[in-house]
Symmetry: C2
Subunit: 251 residues, 2 copies
């Protein structure tokens, strides 16, 4: 049984906590919790890093900015300290510790539970034995554990920004357009979900449809005419140009 | 029982055919099918518009470009002719007919079946009685039938382009980034699906996360540095700027 101290009980921390609760291979023995959120079970918690107990590893699930400072204050030497961020390098963790990464490639929100079994966990460590421990920790909650070094993790995070943050912003733009014309965003929900479901089975390159792909210049012009917001017009133009470049139209 | 002649057996046509097959309120009595695809049941089909039989309505599920020409060749007068396109105006249908729209707000692909019950059907007609018939036809296959005029349908289609065509292109960009670095697109599939699932329950404006939202300029710079393709860099910059404008950063 791997003993874990969880540092942070925000979005990611809470989901990690829940995932490990139902695992028989790893156990959270203490939570560093400065949020006002109560833990659902009677695991010891503390608001002070000085009071951390001993464990096999320290899992930092706090904001990116606080990784350096938290890791520097863990009152042990040569213990395994890992963080859960997609964009922070492994060497941001204090050199006082054996360092590692345990990055779940998913977006977490307060009110939605997610199935950890399906979430890829990207791991990295400085030694083979620590990597092995992180692999065991990963398989305790997920079916997909992959070794990814910090440089590759950056690219993964970049790609994740496109599918998650940018797609979500496109949803927001659509909602704004609909609201402006008195229409309900609910109308688009089945479409946007099917768009994401489709590429679970087929490549997005194959799945592409729409006026940009079929070079329907009449519709493209009409759409640009309907968009008042200059930023949204720019996004419409960029995306159209990029789709057309992908499918071979000379620019 | 509403008798329908279906014109076109491409992606949309085939899905419409399947949806009506299991309905007790409407029945496809003939299919104008110039594709090489075989119908799954013994419904009469023809390759010639001259041979169309009589019906309560003629449902054009062909490409946008052929709506004018097909509707002009339907050999009846004053019959109800409707098309299924999001972006073609109702008056593109020949004035020889009573005209209408039956637009399912969904993306269809060959190899994926979809649940029509959840798909909003947008209807429009020139008379109340035809509108009523289209409403009945819609409820025969879907739980969500909404009256939407041609001008509003244009805006709905524009919003649909953002959530469907543009999101899909973002997926494609991500796949390209991953492939370039020897990573598997499968790694991002749970994330992109969760992104779409999340906004089924919460507003995309609330759901927004990521470096642009939290104004993490270090990560933003690193990401721009990683993108070689000038079009992808432009998209990254514009999306970032638009997210920051949404959340109140002065530009």
């Amino acid at each position: 049984m791997i003993k874990v101290v969880l540092l942070g009980y925000g979005n990611v921390g809470k989901h990690m906590f829940d995932a490990f609760s139902s695992s028989s291979k790893a156990k959270i023995v203490q939570v560093y919790n400065r949020s006002k959120k109560e833990l659902p079970s009677k695991i010891p918690q503390t608001e002070s890093l000085k009071d951390l107990c001993e464990a096999d590893l320290y899992l930092i699930a706090s904001s990116d900015d606080s990784i350096v400072s938290i890791s520097g204050k863990i009152p042990f030497h040569d213990t395994l300290v890992v963080h859960t961020s997609g964009s922070v390098a492994m060497d941001s963790i204090s050199a006082n510790h054996r360092r590692g990464i345990f990055y779940p490639l998913q977006t977490f929100s307060k009110d939605r539970s997610v199935d950890f079994a399906e979430i890829p966990i990207c791991i990295e460590a400085e030694s083979n034995s620590d990597l092995e421990l992180l692999r065991q920790l990963g398989t305790a909650i997920s079916n997909k554990v992959v070794e990814v070094d910090s440089s590759t993790r950056e690219k993964l995070h970049l790609a994740a920004v496109f599918v998650n943050n940018f797609s979500n912003h496109l949803y927001h733009i659509s909602e704004e357009i609909l609201t402006k014309y008195g229409l309900d965003f609910d109308l688009l929900k089945p479409l946007l979900l099917e768009t994401a479901l489709k590429v679970q089975q087929m490549s997005p390159k194959e799945a592409q449809t729409g006026p940009a792909r079929r070079q329907d210049s009449k519709t493209l012009e009409k759409h640009l005419h309907l968009l008042d917001d200059p930023l949204y017009r720019t996004i419409y133009k960029d995306m159209t140009q990029s789709i057309q470049a992908t499918y071979g139209k000379k620019l």
